[in-house]
């Protein structure tokens, strides 16, 4: 039975008790506990069920590597699944629930899977469920979905807030163990701007637990002194609860700070994502102890030796009353010493090595603890937790030599440096056969823009496992990061001499199938030794393929405890050396980070920028029904009381045709192009000629990509001899400006042209309708007569008191003036128009009326008639394509055979036979079926509306040989109904002669 010891626990404060619940059971812990240590202190050894077989599982580790102890934390709006108990700090009122069990943790019906395990081998997904296909959907998948899986996704809106923080440093040190502290201190004292981050709430890592003595002082004292020194330096910043999550190109590093997870009562952000630009990175990320592979190693009560002593020393928690320690190295003997000190009975240390002659084993023997060499565990006894172990010779096949009763098994298979952050950005690894570990290859560091390494591993993360060597290595890393010899020296430590480990990848060495099929590698994803061996037998040679086939290392712990053991088994099965098999790829983040932290501040009203015109507030107050257009919000229509949106659109269209309509056109792109080469440049950008446009005049133009496809359109106005104003579509303002700049900066860099995007400088309002001129003249100011300002010209002057540029252009077919005033005057000008307009029945109209008005006139709309595959010729716009110009963007592309293919669908108007409205995107149906059994098509609808002016449905579409098939009736698909018949007509439905706009 695990329990709280009467004394001890360097990280807990027994004066501050905390209450929490686990599966609704009240439990008690102390400030400083992790949820893991508190659960153990309350005797809760069973914490979850495994992914596939629903095996009972207990905590095996004490840190970020923990594979089993995952819980649902919180509830409702604070629920978060898969929270690791070993890294969750306890707080008052914490609520945790175990995962992946039904109906209860203690009695789980899915545990029957464990008896079916021979039917669920490696690759079972691929093998069992291939046939018949319908079985996957209706039988296998529901079964797998119900029985496999971990936490449940929350379904309530997250109650917490998150944010980002950007910083730039010379040296970023990841990991606040003694190596990280030493490296940060050395870099700081030598003048670098340093940031040191540590994922836990405590500095110093394992050193205090392992009894390190640094500079003649106990580790705790050295750590405290070093923190004091670091805090005193202005150029050094240190952060706990901040995990280095990922290292990316150019020294970009993400770190995840858990601001209030440990104390959620305050109204602080929960997590902060640090976006760090680091000149150099030092990874002092420590090492992770490896489990040993013996039968029953997944039973609750089997733990890593380091974790067992962490719980005793850090939290005053005993993981059991009688422990057996099994190891292949000297380090695990420290656990025997710590347990003995804590008063726990150590029944034996089983050492797989043929001899244990180091100083640590001697100390253990001196305490009267039994040490058995050449011995391993044949299997662990027990059903839901450890009852005992059966011993065997490591060199044998598992014949049991003796049984020992115990409730804790502390295992150590050696240590693996945490090389994740070193590897994220391309750092390579070496296999150190003497110490059986992959460690960073100093000659193959991740490289920066200058080709030199920018990541330096330090301490245990670099394979330096003893205290003194780790400190010296950290100082060396700091010097390497700073690119100079440092005037400081590393702290020194007295290291206890340790004898080499002996690699043990399977215990016992000759374990048969019965034992191996109970020997776990990946606890979280339920992958056993036999699964990896089976994959090898079936021909899997690549470690990456084996990983995916067996799911080894693919769980939320990303194989922190399982990867090396798994690939050792694979290499043995393949008869290859471990370095030749290699590791799988280490990818960020190091441990899972919250989605909230990634999103940062971007939620609610600042989820996305919402662009507002100067008239936005007026629209809002006057009942605008909004439509998103890019990031803009534009009024779709202005429904009045008792009116539907559709009715409002009809009213607005009719009013613009019969009286006068007002449109907020401020979102239209406006780009100034100026310079001696501006005309030449615009002749390249547009398909038609712009250089010969006279000042004061306007011309409609088309822009194509270099592949010939139509990308934008709009009216160009010539301002003066070397200045043009290009109007773009709303969505095109930024992209067309960028398009122009790209060509100017990369291709025609020697042309004398400047551009400026002045879209937002102006509020632009279209005054549209037969009464438009009368109404504007009523406001006083410039001469707007047909003689003074003819169609397709522009003038500068005053409307009323307002400075204005007036463009006589029309996207509606009516008499129309587009008036630009400075944005700061926009609202006042609009108010003046509304006031003056009362006499003329003027009313605002929205984007849908704009669309209907243009469609009645057969004007195309970028994004409706075009979709990135349409060329101007498809739309009958040949008149706007210059034949005189030697070149323009898209010209040569439009001469390609496919572009000149007469079979390209061409623009026509479409009138339904019964006056109904065609569906948007409907296909014109042709005879026969294609190779996939689908009906052949001969065209599609690009725009379709009810025309209030004509009282019927009108549409435009692209149809095979359309312009040659006038008056032919063809059928269009209708979702959920019979096809609709429509007659092919010209695209201009209203005022084809253009008399209305030119008055």
């Amino acid at each position: 039975m695990s329990k709280r010891l009467a004394a001890g626990g360097r990280l807990i404060d027994r004066a501050i008790p905390l209450d929490f619940t686990f599966n609704n059971k009240r439990m008690h812990g102390y400030e400083g506990d992790t949820l893991g240590s508190a659960l153990l202190a309350n005797g809760q050894v069973l914490v979850g069920r495994s992914f596939k077989y629903h095996r009972p599982r207990g905590i095996i580790a004490s840190g970020a590597e923990e594979p089993n102890g995952l819980v649902n934390l919180g509830s409702g709006r604070t629920l978060e699944p898969n929270q690791r108990v070993t890294t969750t700090e306890l707080f008052e009122g914490l609520r945790a629930e175990s995962q992946n069990h039904w109906p209860s943790l203690e009695f789980d019906i899915g545990a029957i899977n464990t008896h079916l395990s021979r039917f669920l081998p490696a690759g079972f997904y691929y093998k069992m469920f291939m046939w018949p296909p319908v079985f996957w959907k209706y039988v296998y998948e529901p079964f797998i979905r119900a029985s496999a899986g971990l936490g449940r996704a929350p379904n309530a809106r997250d109650a917490d807030t998150y944010e980002h923080f950007n910083t730039t440093v010379d040296v970023l040190v990841i990991g606040g163990g003694i190596a990280g502290l030493q490296a940060a201190k050395a870099a700081g004292e030598n003048g670098a701007r340093v940031l040191l981050v540590e994922q836990t709430a405590h500095w110093g890592g394992r050193a205090p637990v392992d009894g390190a003595v640094i500079g003649g002082k106990p580790a705790d004292a050295w750590i405290e002194d070093t923190i004091t020194d670091l805090e005193a330096m202005d150029n050094v910043h240190i952060r706990t609860r901040t995990m280095g999550a990922g290292v990316y190109d150019h020294g970009y590093v993400l770190a995840h700070e858990r601001i209030s997870d440990h104390d959620p009562r305050e109204d602080r952000p929960r997590h902060r994502l640090w976006r760090i630009r680091a000149g150099q990175v030092i990874t002092a990320t420590g090492a992770i102890e490896r489990p040993l592979s013996f039968a029953g190693n997944d039973l609750p009560g089997v733990m890593l030796a380091s974790a067992v002593r962490d719980y005793a020393v850090n939290y005053g928690v005993s993981t059991g009353d009688r422990a057996v320690i099994v190891t292949n190295n000297d380090d695990a003997y420290r656990t025997a010493l710590a347990l003995h000190e804590a008063g726990t009975t150590v029944k034996a240390v089983l050492d797989a090595r043929t001899q244990a002659a180091g100083r640590l084993p001697d100390k253990v023997r001196a305490l009267g603890i039994r040490v058995e060499t050449g011995t391993g565990i044949a299997k662990v006894k027990g059903v839901a937790r450890v009852d005992g172990v059966a011993l065997c010779a490591q060199s044998g096949n598992g014949s049991v030599t003796e049984e020992l009763s115990c409730d804790t098994v502390a295992m150590s298979g050696g240590w693996s440096p945490v090389v994740h952050l070193w590897s994220h950005c391309g750092g390579k690894l070496l296999w150190d056969a003497d110490r059986a570990m992959f460690r960073p290859d100093p000659d193959k560091a991740p490289t920066g823009a200058d080709g030199a390494g920018f990541v330096h591993a330090a301490g245990a993360a670099n394979g330096e496992m003893s205290t003194g060597a780790a400190l010296a290595d950290a100082h060396r890393a700091a010097a390497a990061a700073m690119g100079k010899k440092l005037r400081t020296k590393a702290s020194t430590a007295e290291d206890e001499e340790e004898m080499p480990l002996e690699p043990v990848w399977l215990m016992p060495q000759g374990a048969g199938d019965a034992l191996r099929s109970k020997t776990w590698l990946d606890f979280q994803n339920d992958v056993k030794v036999t699964d990896v061996q089976l994959a090898a037998q079936e021909g899997y040679e690549s470690v990456e393929h084996t990983k995916r086939y067996t799911t080894l290392g693919m769980a939320t712990d990303q194989g922190k405890t399982s990867n090396i053991n798994g690939l050792a088994i694979l290499s043995k099965s393949l008869g290859a050396d471990i370095p030749n098999v290699g590791t799988t790829t280490f990818r960020p983040p190091y441990t899972p980070i919250s989605m909230g932290a990634i999103a940062g501040e971007a939620r609610g009203k600042i989820f996305q920028p919402l662009r507002r015109t100067p008239l936005h507030d007026w629209h809002d107050r006057n009942g605008a029904h909004w439509e998103p257009v890019g990031h803009w919000r534009r009024p779709y229509a202005f429904p009045r009381d008792g009116e539907t949106v559709e009715q409002a659109v009809s009213r607005e269209v009719k009013n613009a045709r019969e009286a006068v309509g007002l449109l907020d056109a401020s979102t239209l792109g406006k780009i100034i192009v100026k310079g001696p080469d501006a005309g030449r440049f615009l002749d390249m950008m547009y398909t038609n000629m712009m250089s010969n446009l006279a000042p004061g005049k306007c011309r409609y133009g088309l822009m194509c990509s270099e592949n010939g496809f139509l990308i934008d359109d709009g009216v160009v106005a010539r301002i003066d001899d070397d200045t043009w104003l290009c109007h773009t579509t709303t969505g095109g303002a930024d992209s067309i400006h960028a398009h122009m700049e790209e060509w100017l900066q990369t291709e025609w860099w020697d042309w004398k042209v400047f551009t400026a995007n002045v879209t937002e400088q102006y509020a632009q309002i279209a005054v549209v309708g037969p009464e438009a001129r009368a109404m504007l003249e009523g406001m006083g100011g410039m001469d707007l007569s047909a003689e003074a300002l003819p169609f397709m010209q522009w003038r500068e002057g005053k409307i009323g008191d307002f400075d204005a540029h007036v463009f006589r252009i029309s996207f509606s077919g009516e008499l129309s003036f587009e008036i630009a005033v400075p944005a700061s005057q926009g609202r006042a000008f609009w108010d003046a128009l509304i006031k003056e307009g009362a006499i003329y029945d003027a009313m605002p109209y929205g984007t849908e009326a704009l669309h209907v008005l243009r469609a009645e006139k057969g004007f195309i709309m970028i994004g409706d008639e075009t979709d990135g595959t349409v060329i101007p010729q498809d739309l009958g716009l040949n008149w706007a394509i210059s034949k005189k110009k030697e070149d323009f963007l898209g010209k040569r592309a439009q001469e390609r055979s496919h572009m000149t293919d007469p079979g390209r669908w061409k623009l026509v108007g479409l009138e339904t036979v019964d006056g109904s409205v065609l569906q948007d995107g409907a296909y014109a149906i042709a005879d026969g079926r294609n190779a996939n059994g689908q009906r052949n098509t001969q065209g599609r609808v690009t725009s379709t509306y009810y025309s209030p002016t004509l009282g019927r449905g009108i549409a435009m579409g692209l149809v095979l040989n359309g312009p040659d098939r006038m008056d032919e009736v063809i059928s269009f698909t209708r979702i959920g109904g019979e096809p609709q018949k429509a007659r092919i007509v010209g695209p201009v439905f209203y005022d084809p002669e253009g008399e209305k706009q030119n008055v």
Binding site: T167, R193, Q761, S824
Partner: protein, 188 residues
């Protein structure tokens, strides 16, 4: 003409820093050869300050010159002066290749002032805001979260920020959110 209106007149928030919409500011984009004597002379004349270095911002009251690109300056002035200054530039640079355009109304201006000002900005922009790297006399053209912005400092803890007018509300909300008193980073 009626009284010109800025994007968010009077908007203000107090937290780790004071956020204020400052009202309209005169702004002129001047593109051209920044080493040309004529251009340098007129820029200095209309602003009353020296030509800025690369990434520099020379600010004096409402007036100033900001380096925007190797061939671009931003001229700052009182809002009502901008049209006249454009005319002055047009006159001075006639016959040379340049572009001077009034962009005052395309912009919104915010002031972020106080102890937490650097941190508030550092939550939103990737620019290095460490006092050793950025202070008065410099400008950064960068982004605030999802929108483009530029800023300079007018004192040890005072930033002036320029963004597009259409996103003024977004930027104000961003800054106010970042300045929440409970969210201080305690970094700078």
């Amino acid at each position: 003409m009626s009284e010109p209106q800025s994007a968010l007149p009077g908007a203000a928030f107090t937290g780790a820093a004071q956020i204020t919409e400052t009202g309209l500011r005169g702004m002129i984009t001047l593109k051209g050869d920044l080493s040309a004597t004529k251009l340098k002379n007129i820029a200095k004349k209309v602003s009353g300050v020296d030509m800025p270095e690369k990434r520099g911002a020379n600010i004096k009251g409402d007036n100033g010159l900001c380096w925007m690109a190797p061939d671009e300056l931003l001229i700052l002035c009182p809002h009502m002066d901008a049209p006249t200054i454009v005319t002055q530039i047009d006159k001075a640079l006639k016959g040379t290749h340049y572009l001077a355009v009034n962009v005052s109304d395309a912009r919104a201006v915010f002031r972020v002032d106080g102890q937490g000002a650097r941190e508030v900005l550092a939550k939103l922009t990737p620019a290095d805001l460490h006092p050793d790297s950025f202070g008065p006399g410099e400008i950064r053209r960068t982004r605030l979260a999802q929108v483009p912005a530029a800023f300079w400092m007018t004192g040890p803890q005072t930033f002036e920020i320029v963004c597009f007018r259409s996103v003024a509300q977004y930027v104000f909300d961003l800054l106010s959110n970042a300045a929440k008193i409970q969210a201080q980073v305690d970094y700078f």
